[in-house]
Symmetry: C2
Subunit: 247 residues, 2 copies
């Protein structure tokens, strides 16, 4: 039996776009999470229902492939499927399609349920998984990881302080905000002239309100790839590798 | 002849809300600007058309009154009207209504056209104003200003650096982001337990990419009012007075 799919229409609006008029990467993630939340709600899996089992969904890894970021006013379709799962991990896919059904972006995510009591990974409660009709699977697809950097790599860094509005209902920085810190560290002119095409990100540790983080990055000259790490003190919060192409 | 009105439906989604699940003030402004942009587009007044006259719309002042901020999942209606104008200023009104048509929020704004050549106020081109069928008026409504503070007032301050994603198509910080700086400076627990009910804000000078700003604020003990100023160096960028009530 194939897992349930869920789709919804969306129109890209001005505050979802950067100053080139294209959807931002952070907003792309917001929209992918939105369509999965709307699937959840349609299946009766509201945030309150999930929380009533003492857990919240937390993403640990994404692999995102972008063909073309849509522009303000574009009518798009968001689509998702909770494809498969095992005791601790759930594998979810996401699609962004244009008005003709062409793929603009595709993402895979690995999600876990975090216990609110211990703030550690807990076995996924059956009640929050069954309604998707996903495939139980011992071995889930393995997403490509961010690059391992040579030990001598020197990264530039830019400081950020976690804001109240960065925090979500799980009491930590929402995963989309990491992209704002990672990308904002790069030069504005580079961001204007390039779009991300392939993003591998791993979330290692949660970051809470008021913390100071650094957005570390390195981008070799002439290379259309950037390496990123977010640190909260000495603790690695997330790392990512992003490939770019000229717009 | 009364000015054209424009309405559109909207459903509040998770990334528009804070960790209490309510629409943020910055998002309320984004939605009000969105409905006015959609009115513009419906009247053929696209950003490109306005820019072809060498100008962009810039807000100088808002007065916002909030009865109740909607929650995630709420179906609301956005409504706007470009009520009246004179040579240099346009007066616009905004409404946020619940599913039964009850008013959740109301705002008034004073807008000007900024010349891209001089970055100063320019006379409003007739071509960008006529389609609204607004009332020409020598004297526009005067919005209440932020409070004048006693000279000896000491304000706390919190630093922010302007991010690439804060910049809009006018090449400066979008007006909604000022609310993120102003509100984030207040304690998280206060923000969780209170909602803004009356906001008076004046935008004095634009802020551009990469600038360091300070969000200055004072909130007298036990007073449900906060005073705010955003400075870019010695230059006042915006000031505001916000009244609050317990949620």
């Amino acid at each position: 039996m194939a897992a349930n799919e869920f789709t919804e229409p969306h129109r890209v609006v001005y505050y979802e776009a950067d100053d080139t008029g294209h959807l931002t990467l952070a907003m792309l993630i917001d929209l992918f999470v939105l369509v999965s939340e709307n699937q959840n709600a349609a299946l009766g899996l509201t945030t309150e229902f999930v929380q009533s089992h003492g857990v919240g969904w937390v993403v640990t890894q994404y692999h995102i492939q972008v063909t073309q970021l849509p522009a303000i006013g574009d009518q798009v379709t968001l689509k998702t499927r909770a494809t498969s799962f095992n005791k601790y991990f759930a594998y979810r896919e996401y699609w962004l399609l244009d008005a003709e059904g062409n793929q603009l972006a595709y993402a895979e995510g690995i999600w876990v349920t975090m216990s609110y009591a211990t703030r550690k990974i807990a076995a996924i409660p059956a009640e929050v998984m069954t309604p998707y009709e996903s495939e139980p699977s011992v071995r889930l697809p393995r997403l490509p990881r961010p690059d391992r950097l040579p030990a001598e790599t020197t990264l530039a860094d830019k400081p950020y302080t976690v804001r109240y509005f960065d925090i979500d209902e799980n009491g930590h920085v929402n995963n989309a905000h990491y992209f704002e810190w990672m990308l904002d560290a790069l030069p504005a002119d580079f961001l204007r002239q390039h779009q991300p095409t392939d993003i591998r990100i791993r979330y290692e540790n949660e970051v809470t309100y008021g913390r100071q983080v650094t957005s570390d990055y390195v981008q070799p000259d002439d290379a259309l790839v950037s390496q990123h790490a977010i640190y909260s003190g000495d603790v690695l919060a997330a790392k990512a590798t992003i490939q770019w192409q000229a717009r």
